[in-house]
């Protein structure tokens, strides 16, 4: 039975090696913040962190996660991504909300490696799909989160928009 390092906790899971991490998380471990939408790594709704890298869990088999640190929205939104989550609320980003956990996970990985991304760098790194049309607010929220990070506090993210 494979042992996973999931959100800082060793976790055993009884699933076949070829099961995509997406379904291991959702179906076997009850972590439903990671969403299924395309199944081919195209949309990013299932984005998680594998050793700090943003990956699309629908195309990563359980066997590939062996020995690696897995982090999901449930831990990231309350942890290292808290500033991003606050920026998301301040900019009132979500509509249906289905793509947003994956967006936040992609942005969290981006800001960890590039604290002040340009528009072009944001475009290149955040290729997740949103059907509701929240993209203009996503860009604003990323910039807000980056500013908050630069300010070294969550103050900028706390300021509500007008």
């Amino acid at each position: 039975m494979p042992l996973l390092h999931l959100n800082g906790t060793p976790t055993r899971v009884d699933a076949d090696d070829d099961t995509p991490l997406l379904w291991v998380l959702r179906d076997h471990l009850g972590l439903t913040g990671t969403k299924f939408a395309c199944g081919i790594g195209e949309c990013g709704a299932c984005t998680i962190h594998l050793d700090g890298q943003a990956v699309r869990a629908c195309v990563v088999p359980l066997s590939a996660a062996s020995g690696k640190q897995i982090r999901t929205i449930e831990a990231v939104a309350a942890g290292e991504g808290a500033r991003i989550a606050k920026a998301w609320i301040a900019e009132q980003v979500p509509q249906c909300g289905y793509c947003q956990p994956g967006m936040i996970m992609a942005v969290s990985a981006l800001l960890a490696s590039n604290a002040d991304p340009s528009d072009a760098e944001i475009d290149a790194a955040v290729t997740n799909l949103c059907r509701c049309g929240t993209q203009p607010r996503i860009r604003r929220a990323i910039q807000r989160a980056a500013r908050a990070r630069a300010a070294g506090s969550t103050k900028a993210a706390d300021d509500a928009t007008g």
Partner: protein
């Protein structure tokens, strides 16, 4: 004015189970269906008009002072839950941070009603305020009785009732139980718009924190005790069935609990979803039968052939034929749009548990009664025995008025005798949609000596959407229509087209999904005619964001641009000369926002388009340039909207942004094609959505209004395609008359 007793009911003494827990204590007020509707339905049955009216939404003030509103409207991202809560809170006078909203459970009698057609605020604006105002009056009454003072000496604010003269006050939570014993007020007093503290403010949405933390639960996230998981194999040809399959291999796969025939194909049920998917691959179903959809090139040809002969006249003002025949300056053009999928990010899914003659469903639905009706019929049980636990929606756009997936889940559950969560693959979802119809249009217009159009003819050809009717025009509506043979119109309750258009469609043969929201135009053109021709295609047609305006605005507003150029007029000035009142104000506002007329650098060009639907007027200006590859890059969209009184400005902006990007995605990329009788596209690599890098900046101006609120879920979608096409013409002098543009 309606009396509260006719629209509200005190439910505080009833036992209320919601989401599995019993609600005890506090004040509970229910919002009822309008009596006219319940009465009409039972009159049609030959019964009296006094049958128990059905419950829509309700609110509860708990002993801790928290206010929860259970709403019947579905939250699909449009922010309706928060806006409805704001309407209650406004009249109730309670701080925003004490509000919570939940999706309600639907059981008992079926009640017609959908979430869609940009109708929710229009339908709910007064009912929700009534509930809040009644609760406030009852809380004041309870306080006055407690203190033995006249109610008129008491005031309510910020969740407390005060008696200024004695300096006493009590919180709503403390008063809730006593308020429950108060009679429903005989008359309600509403705040004047000037006194609004919450309506008109950009309150933060109540659903957003959970959508950011990953905690928000959608239909696909539901967990039911003992639940199994199902994957589906669906015949690619509409109406097809499984001819053969390797059942033996599939059954031998780990975790497999059953293989169930379902409408349209087969469901493999297993302990875990991935096991079901793997077993489905082993099953390798081979399909046959059905009615092949007409392949796209052939269908396009049929549509244009249909435009050669006169169609059914769906609307006419003045004698357009005479004007066309007597003029030498006739402008004529043909346009075409493709099929489009909804592609909600959450694939279609449903969790069902069938036990005997009862069924429980956990899913989201834009048509709860339609869903319960169709599932009941499929199982052969009373639809009143079908309970729906409504969840959040991962997008809907009209797709979730349909009931196909729920029927499959219910049949799978009954077959295996366990609760089953059935989840479609993206490919299932893309290839088994109810599509925005592919249509073609032929337009003719006459430009008179003054350079104004004196006659306008729009002839639309498209498929017939009758196969979608049973799912949303649910039992009660269908029955009423059949028996009465004439529409009922409880104004402001059901979408007007349900009552007015459906029988019109049935009688005239004119399909509303194809030809609705078309002429009469809001332009001053003395002679107009709309014709419709039906061209059969087996692909299911359904509601889509702003269908039918999504295609008709592209036809009409592109063609109006052609007329402007034919008249050697500026496209904005040309339209301005034909519009009056608020339509003109909206046009002017958008032009002003875009600095129309100011020369652009970098090869940028502007295009303008306006459209009105569901009482909302929108004008958009697109600013684009054309790259070396010839592909347009939309840099900026300017939008002016008049949607009456605004409940939440930020929500209106979000809906406008979303509607524009939904329409822009379709205009630039959207195309579902049919080959060998089946849909070709299967996933987001071949049905592309705009990514962050392709998203323009959007500037929005909302016109001030004291008129009744209209709708904002859809009306900003239709103008974007023609605005972009018109900008493309301005940039290249090339007129593109088919979508997608790129």
């Amino acid at each position: 004015m309606t009396r509260p007793a006719e629209t509200l009911v005190n439910l505080s003494r009833r036992r209320f189970v919601q989401g599995g827990s019993l609600l005890v204590g506090g004040l509970v007020l229910g919002v009822l269906a309008p009596r006219s509707l319940a009465g009409a339905a039972s009159t049609a049955e030959g019964a009296t008009a006094t049958s128990d009216p059905e419950l829509g939404s309700w609110l509860r003030i708990a002993p801790d002072g928290r206010v929860t509103v259970w709403v019947e409207k579905a939250e699909m991202g449009q922010g309706i839950h928060s806006s409805l809560a704001a309407l209650v809170a406004e009249e109730l006078d309670v701080p925003w941070d004490r509000l919570a909203v939940e999706s309600r459970t639907f059981d008992g009698p079926l009640r017609p009603g959908i979430t869609g057609a940009s109708m929710s605020i229009r339908e709910s604006f007064m009912p929700m305020r009534r509930a809040g105002a009644a609760a406030r009056t009852m809380l004041i009454g309870a306080a006055a009785a407690t203190w033995a003072v006249p109610a008129a000496e008491c005031t309510a604010a910020q969740g407390r009732v005060r008696h200024e003269r004695s300096g006493r006050s009590l919180g709503y939570g403390e008063l809730a139980a006593r308020a429950a014993a108060q009679p429903l007020p005989a008359e309600l007093v509403f705040k004047s718009p000037k006194a609004f503290a919450l309506i008109g403010k950009s309150l933060p949405r109540l659903d957003i924190p959970a959508k950011v933390s990953g905690a928000a639960s959608f239909g696909i996230d539901v967990k039911v005790e003992g639940m199994l998981h199902a994957a589906t194999g669906l015949a690619p040809v509409p109406g097809g069935e499984v001819e053969s399959a390797d059942y033996e291999s599939a059954r031998a796969q780990p975790g497999v609990r059953g293989i169930v025939a379902i409408p349209g194909g087969v469901a493999v049920v297993a302990d875990h979803y991935w096991q079901a998917r793997k077993a489905l691959a082993k099953l390798a179903p081979v399909y046959s039968g059905g009615t092949p959809a007409v392949d796209t090139p052939a269908y396009s040809k049929l549509l244009h052939e249909a435009l050669e002969t006169p169609g059914l006249v769906a609307g006419e003002t003045g004698d357009a034929d005479a004007a066309l025949a007597g003029s030498e300056r006739v402008i004529e053009a043909r346009y075409e749009v493709p099929w489009l999928a909804h592609a909600t990010l959450e694939p279609m899914n449903c969790t069902a548990s069938v036990r005997g003659d009862r069924c429980e469903l956990w899913t989201s639905s834009q048509s709860p009664s339609g869903l319960r009706n169709d599932v009941g019929a499929a199982l052969g049980i009373d639809p009143e025995h079908v309970t729906l636990h409504a969840t959040l929606m991962g997008g809907a756009f009209g797709r979730r008025v349909e009931t196909d997936t729920a029927v499959q889940a219910a049949l799978a559950s009954r077959s295996v005798g366990r609760p089953v969560k059935l989840v479609w693959s993206r490919e299932d979802d893309m290839r088994h949609d109810f599509y925005r119809p592919a249509c073609a249009a032929r337009m003719k217009a006459v430009i008179d000596a003054a350079g104004r159009p004196s006659a306008f003819l729009l002839h639309v050809a498209g498929p017939w959407s009758d196969r979608t009717l049973p799912s949303w025009a649910n039992g009660a509506i269908g029955a009423a229509q059949k028996r009465l043979g004439s529409p009922l119109a409880p104004e402001g309750y059901l979408p007007d087209f349900v009552w007015w258009r459906l029988p019109q469609v049935m009688r005239s043969g004119v399909d509303w999904i194809v030809s609705g929201n078309a002429p009469p135009l809001n332009y001053t053109v003395p002679r107009q005619r709309l014709e419709y021709s039906h061209v059969e295609n087996a692909l299911p047609v359904g509601w889509w964001r702003a269908v039918p305006a999504s295609q008709n605005a592209f036809f009409v507003e592109s063609f109006v641009d052609e007329l402007a150029h034919a008249a050697s007029a500026d496209p904005y000035e040309f339209r301005r000369g034909l519009l009056g009142g608020r339509d003109r104000e909206v046009l002017d506002r958008a032009a002003e926002l875009a600095s129309w007329g100011r020369p652009r650098s970098d090869g940028r060009a502007l295009g303008i388009a306006q459209y009105a639907m569901v009482g909302t007027r929108v004008c958009e200006v697109a600013e684009l340039s054309v790259g070396e590859s010839g592909e347009p890059k939309v840099h900026r969209v300017y939008c002016a909207i008049d949607c009456g009184l605004v409940v939440n400005p930020d929500t209106v902006r979000a809906q406008v942004e979303g509607s524009i990007l939904f329409g822009l995605t379709a205009a630039l990329r959207g195309r579902i094609t049919v080959r060998n009788g089946a849909v070709e596209q299967g996933n987001f690599h071949d049905y592309r959505l705009l990514r962050l890098a392709e998203t323009p900046e959007i500037e929005i101006s909302i016109l001030d209004s004291r008129e009744a609120p209209t709708g904002v879920g859809e009306p900003a979608t239709p103008p974007i395609a023609p605005a972009v096409a018109n900008a493309l013409f301005a940039a290249t002098r090339r007129r593109i008359r088919t979508l997608p543009l790129a």
